[in-house]
């Protein structure tokens, strides 16, 4: 059996944490995929999760598409959007879910990624977001950081990093 779709690292938070980092990512896969379930201690409405590559916070651009159940919108900016984050004042025990796909993370081109996130809480503040992201940097990705737009990730938030190999 080919060694593909392999769990590289799993993180389940035991306490409130501001950010997580997957470091020393093996350079032996073709693509990376991150699956996460998070909730914030911040009381602002649901917001985004931000990403960094190799500790870098610059040279990011994105186009996003969101739907809230009653409206749609699209925009672009220099943010590092990479998913959704439920907030502390929303329905108890509801966590947002997001997936990030990073193809060809070891290549010498600029790095594109897609992120799909939902924040559903059986209330009015719910929605879905799709992101086309680009990191205009040709370096291979060796570490990935994930931070909430505001506040900290609550305990039991989970983050999984998978490696996908095409051979």
């Amino acid at each position: 059996m080919a060694n593909t779709y392999t769990l590289i690292e799993a993180k389940t938070l035991g306490s409130t944490t501001a950010s997580i980092t997957f470091s020393s990512i093996p350079q032996t896969y073709t693509d990376l995929k991150i699956v996460m379930s998070v909730r914030s201690d911040n009381t602002n409405p649901s917001n985004t999760v931000d990403i960094t590559f190799n500790g870098n916070t610059s040279s990011f651009t994105n186009i996003y598409l969101i739907g809230t159940g009653s409206s749609t919108a699209s925009g672009s900016n220099f943010g590092r959007y990479a998913g959704a984050q439920n907030s502390a004042n929303e329905t108890a025990n509801t966590f947002s879910n997001s997936e990030i796909y990073i193809p060809n993370y070891t290549g010498s081109n600029n790095k594109s990624y897609s992120a799909d996130g939902v924040y559903e809480n059986n209330a009015t503040a719910a929605g879905q977001g799709l992101v086309a992201g680009l990191w205009s940097n040709t370096a291979a990705i060796t570490s990935i950081g994930i931070t909430g737009y505001a506040g900290n990730f609550l305990a039991t938030s989970t983050f999984y990093l998978y490696g996908i190999s095409n051979s």
């Binding site: 059996m1 593909t4 594109s112």
Partner: protein, 168 residues
């Protein structure tokens, strides 16, 4: 017959020069679903179209698709019936990343559905792209090809990878 391993790479094609078509033939029927990951640059800007078939690519008007997309300033949706291929993304000369989920591709009783997710942040007509495609055929799929809708070419280094997903 035992199903294949899940999320197993079936084939990868890398454009070695300017190629008008990437074609996969003889696709194993041992899986439940297929996932296709594309990272391509193109010599012309248009839709990236995907044809499927059994024994040959169906180029008849047996496909339909519905698109939801955002271009950075507005969200929009459109639908195209009776097209001659599935449209899986909008592509140009910059980096285009596309993921396709092709469900239940080997069954011989239902029409085939494909979900796609495309990315490009460097072209005003490209964007966050999501589509659902239907191929109106009950034939099992054992061939897939990729072309640029403008009859432009895939440039060198573009990659197309086919993965098999087994339910059991």
């Amino acid at each position: 017959m035992a199903a294949g391993a899940t999320y197993e790479p079936i084939a990868t094609a890398t454009a070695t020069g300017s190629q008008s078509e990437i074609l996969f033939t003889g696709i194993s029927q041992a899986y439940t679903d297929l996932v296709i990951v594309v990272q391509a640059t193109e010599s012309g800007a248009d839709g990236l179209i995907m044809g499927v078939g059994n024994g040959s690519i169906d180029t008849g008007t047996n496909y339909s698709f519905t698109v939801l997309r955002g271009n950075g300033s507005a969200a929009s949706s459109y639908r195209v019936p009776n097209y001659d291929a599935a449209q899986i993304g909008m592509v140009n000369s910059t980096i285009n990343s596309i993921i396709v989920h092709l469900q239940n591709y080997s069954n011989t009783t239902t029409y085939k559905t494909m979900l796609t997710r495309g990315n490009n942040t460097n072209w005003s007509n490209n964007q966050v792209y999501s589509s659902v495609n239907l191929w109106r055929s009950t034939s099992a799929i054992n061939q897939i090809n990729f072309k640029n809708g403008s009859i432009a070419n895939h440039t060198a280094g573009s990659t197309f990878t086919l993965y098999g997903i087994a339910a059991a």
